[in-house]
Amino acid sequence: MKLVAPSIHYLAIAPELALLGGALLLLFASALRPSRISNLQATVVTAASSIAVVVIAFFQWSDVASHGARTTIDHAIALDGFSIVASAIVGVGLLLSTLVAHDWAKRANVRNGEFSILALAASSGAVIMAQANDLVVIFIALEILSIGLYVLVAFDRHRAASSEAALKYFLMGGFASAVFIYGAALVYGATGTTNLSSISYFLGKNELLRPGLLIAGGALLLVGFSFKVAAAPFHSWAPDVYQGAPSPVTGFMASIVKVGAFAAFVRVLISALGTQQDTWRPIFWVLIVLTTFVGAGLALVQRDAKRLLAYSSINHAGFMLLGLWAGTVRGAAATLYYLITYAPLVIATFAIVTLMGGPNDTSHAVESYRGLARRQPWLGGAFAILLLAQAGAPFTTGFFAKFSVLSAAVDAGGAPIAIIAMVAASIAFFFYLRWTLSLYAEDALDAPRIVVPWPTALVIAFGVVTTIVFGIWVGPFADLAHKATLLFLP
């Protein structure tokens, strides 16, 4: 038998090559000369790789704009507007997270060489996930992403909670991966292919007499994805893991995993299973109602900042699902826009949480934020803006993120679910607002000052400035998400 190697369009896989290259460089360097790798060097390599991803995205964009979307490596990898924007978000997310982690490592006295390697590898998983056009590739990417994160969550070896969280995440994540691959197998059984385009083509041409296998497979894929994006009722790992993981990892995880998983989710649902919309829509309906309300409702009673933000991210996941529910171009664009705006916001929020956690990363009571804005107006004010943006206050990107998914849902005939989601949003808005108000309390003025190192300050400033500037000058990102989705692979 003769194996023919498939042709490779290297520009398409350049982002993951850059990330893996950075990881390998650090890996070899630290293996060969362990004493010579300083935190600074590791951070510089990671930052360079992530900037490379963003730069490559520009080249990819001009390539796709002139030649159209394409697939490569035997149609397993897609190069289209959607994947380009998603991988650029991963690049930006990695860059911001690295800066936060750098300061954290210095304070916590952690050697961050390994940290950078794992973060780079996990990011490459997220990028591949966004590009994957085949269920098997999605699975592999999901594993690359997850395995890196399992270790990162356990990175704080001095804290038992960190290891506990990692174990929980590993068990739950492993289970979710198993469910996912089983779903992929069933879909293969029903359609004879794992390639998303081929599945779509097959389902478009053929009427399944006994659709049970496909429905079961689709349902299992959905469960697998729901675990990864922490949609209720598959969310129970998220609060524990968010709380236990080192804070910079939590921010990284909250942004990168959501980008990778949602990008793949959009591709599977809208590209491969688009014809089965009537089957999965009702399931999504329930998922969205549960996810938005569980997130908003349980966040109300949290006393730990990281748990609270975990529930808040569950609530956000519910809104992102709303864009998927619509299942239209507008819906996919809305989810993409949500991801673009959410990533810097959540990383900047966790940057402040990291600072507040102190050298041991343990003081995370919501109570300890009382009066922050009175003690340190700049830091507290920035946190207030980030919280209001996450809540969806007008003239922040958070508002337009919610607006975009709601409008996509209404466009697709989902006015009732849009109203339900708005009710959940009002609950969520309330706990953000309450937290914001407590920042301005006057009865906690004697807490120690938080020192803000400049790399972290840069990340916070980036989050605050983008959310306000692009909350008023809405056009650029709205157009980007829209155009990226129009360049979607059919």
């Binding site: 507008r330 664009a333 107006p377 209001l388 206050a393 007008p394 003239f395 508002f399 337009f400 607006f403 975009s404 709601l406 409008s407 209404v410 466009d411 006015a415 849009a418 109203i419 708005m422 009710v423 949003a425 009002s426 808005f429 309330f430 607002l433 309450r434 108000l437 301005y440 000058w473 809405v474 056009g475 709205a478 157009d479 998400a481 829209h482």
Partner: protein, 499 residues
């Protein structure tokens, strides 16, 4: 067509004031001056807009100062400003009330932050009134929540946290319906006409919808505006919010934010879904009349002055609602005029209550007695405002209520008859309150209070002048309101609602 820069200035000036405050936040003494100066500039600009406003521009409806800039095409988001004869009145009201509130109801605790939030609220309210685009209106409408929440929650009375929460949850819940309604309408238009997503008021008013859809959209819009106004039975947040808010907060809440609700009901609900009005009318009219009677009854048994004014506001908003939905031009003009007059009157009420509270440390009716002995001028000021609120001819309240009732009698006699009793009730509860607070023999701390100072008199003077002036000569406002109301009535008329 006048330059839209005037309207943009209305949005930019408060922001500049805020920037100045934040830049020099260490200089706490200057905050008061900067705040008042900014609001005064705002007032000056709004007066310029009032005088320049021309309702007769061809092809623009009755809109002037129009300008539209697409901000984000995929979202249908545009910066679209214009004023009509209705919004111009509200703009002037907004500027006046904020100037008076900043001057007369100063908060010395964290003054820089306080003034910042007030200016932010001023900007958001102005934004809502100059918006000529539904999405833009919604953004500003929603934005007003944030400063109001902080004003109540940080500078309010002992139960401020609960009051702020209740206020926030109710109004945010309502705005969900508004947003989904706006989106539905936008997409209905998009699917009909094609092109880009668009939420422009002028364009969406041309959408043809089935009767059922119009009714549902009207209801979605009306719920949101009814909560904000508040209209019975959506009012339960308002007494505690008005009572617990600081004086300036109560002034702004009742005089301005409530008007966002009634303004929205008239311009967006009635203006965009005139066909639905016919079906909805009996219900809304009934709620309005119940609001008038219920508000009056609760005002009569209120134990403190702020709640009394809050419930009397409920009754007044009942009149405004009545005028808005009767479909008669007279009543609608009266309703817009009452929005302005009620804004001025309640602002004056809360300012006077603030004066009393400052002297006595309480606004409970039980604590106050015989104040007219030691403070005759205060009593006189209260009397003027009270008589205007009752609707004494010659003062501003009369003309607007009279127009509303006159119009209502023409179209909906029976509702008109019941509503008219509300005028009597208002006389009853206000005179009663006057008796309790100002008459009798002042004893203890009541006997020694100081009368209003010259400065305080000067601050309330503009409001009193408006109350008296518009009572005698409302023509300048009526001239501007009438053509714009006519525009709305034209759409209502073919359905046979109007007579």
């Amino acid at each position: 067509m006048h330059s839209s820069l005037w309207l943009t200035a209305l949005l930019v000036v408060p922001l500049l004031g805020m920037a100045l405050l934040i830049a020099f936040r260490k200089v706490t003494k200057g905050a008061y001056i900067v705040g008042v100066a900014t609001a005064a500039v705002e007032l000056a600009i709004s007066l310029v807009v009032l005088f320049l406003y021309n309702s007769g521009i061809k092809g623009a409806g009755t809109f002037d100062f129009a300008y539209r800039l697409i901000v984000a095409a995929p979202f249908g988001l545009a910066y679209d400003v214009a004023v009509s004869g209705i919004s111009i009145v509200m703009i002037v009201l907004t500027a006046i009330v904020v100037v008076v509130a900043l001057l007369g109801a100063r908060e010395t605790k964290h003054e820089v932050a306080f003034v910042c939030w007030m200016l932010f609220l001023l900007m958001a309210t102005m934004g809502a009134f100059v918006s000529h685009d539904l999405l833009e209106f919604f953004l500003f409408f929603e934005l007003t929540l944030v400063p109001s929440y902080f004003l109540i929650a940080q500078w309010g009375g002992p139960e401020r946290a609960r009051a702020a929460l209740k206020f926030f949850i109710y109004t945010f819940f309502g705005s969900g319906f508004l947003l989904v309604g706006i989106l539905y309408l936008g997409f209905a238009h998009l699917h009909q006409a094609g092109g880009d997503l668009n939420f422009s008021y002028g364009i969406l008013s041309g959408t043809s919808l089935s009767h059922g859809t119009e009714v549902w959209l009207f209801i979605a819009f009306a719920i949101s505006f009814a909560i904000k106004s508040p209209i019975f039975p959506f009012h339960t947040w308002s007494p505690i919010a008005y009572a617990e808010a600081p004086t300036s907060g109560s002034m702004v809440l009742s005089a301005l934010l409530a008007k966002l609700g009634t303004y929205g009901l008239l311009v967006f609900a009635v203006g965009l879904f005139p066909l639905a009005l016919h079906t909805i009318q009996p219900y809304v009219l009934t709620l309005a009349v119940i609001g008038i009677l219920y508000g009056s009854a609760l005002a009569a048994v209120s134990k403190d002055m702020k709640r009394l004014v809050a419930y009397s506001s409920l009754a007044q908003v009942g009149f405004i609602t009545l005028g808005t939905v009767t479909g008669s031009k007279l009543a609608m003009v009266g309703a817009v005029l009452l929005m302005f007059n009620h804004g001025v009157i309640t602002a004056a009420f809360f300012l006077i209550i603030g004066y009393i509270e400052k002297r006595r440390g309480s606004y409970l009716l039980a604590d106050l007695k015989g104040l007219q002995g030691p403070a005759p001028v205060l009593a006189a000021l209260f009397t003027v405002v009270m008589l205007a609120s009752i609707g004494l001819p010659g003062l501003s309240g009369f003309i607007s209520e009279f127009l509303i009732l006159l119009g209502t009698f023409g179209t909906h006699q029976w509702w008109g008859i019941v509503a008219t009793t509300g005028v009597l009730f208002s006389a009853l509860y206000l005179l009663w309150a006057y008796q309790q607070v100002f008459q009798g023999k002042a004893e203890g701390p009541n006997a020694t209070i100081k009368d209003v100072s010259g400065r305080e008199r000067l601050i309330i003077l503009p409001l009193i002048m408006l109350i008296v002036g518009l009572g005698v000569f409302p023509q300048p406002l009526l001239n501007r309101i009438t053509p714009s109301v006519q525009q709305i009535v034209v759409h209502v008329a073919p359905t046979g609602v109007s007579k």
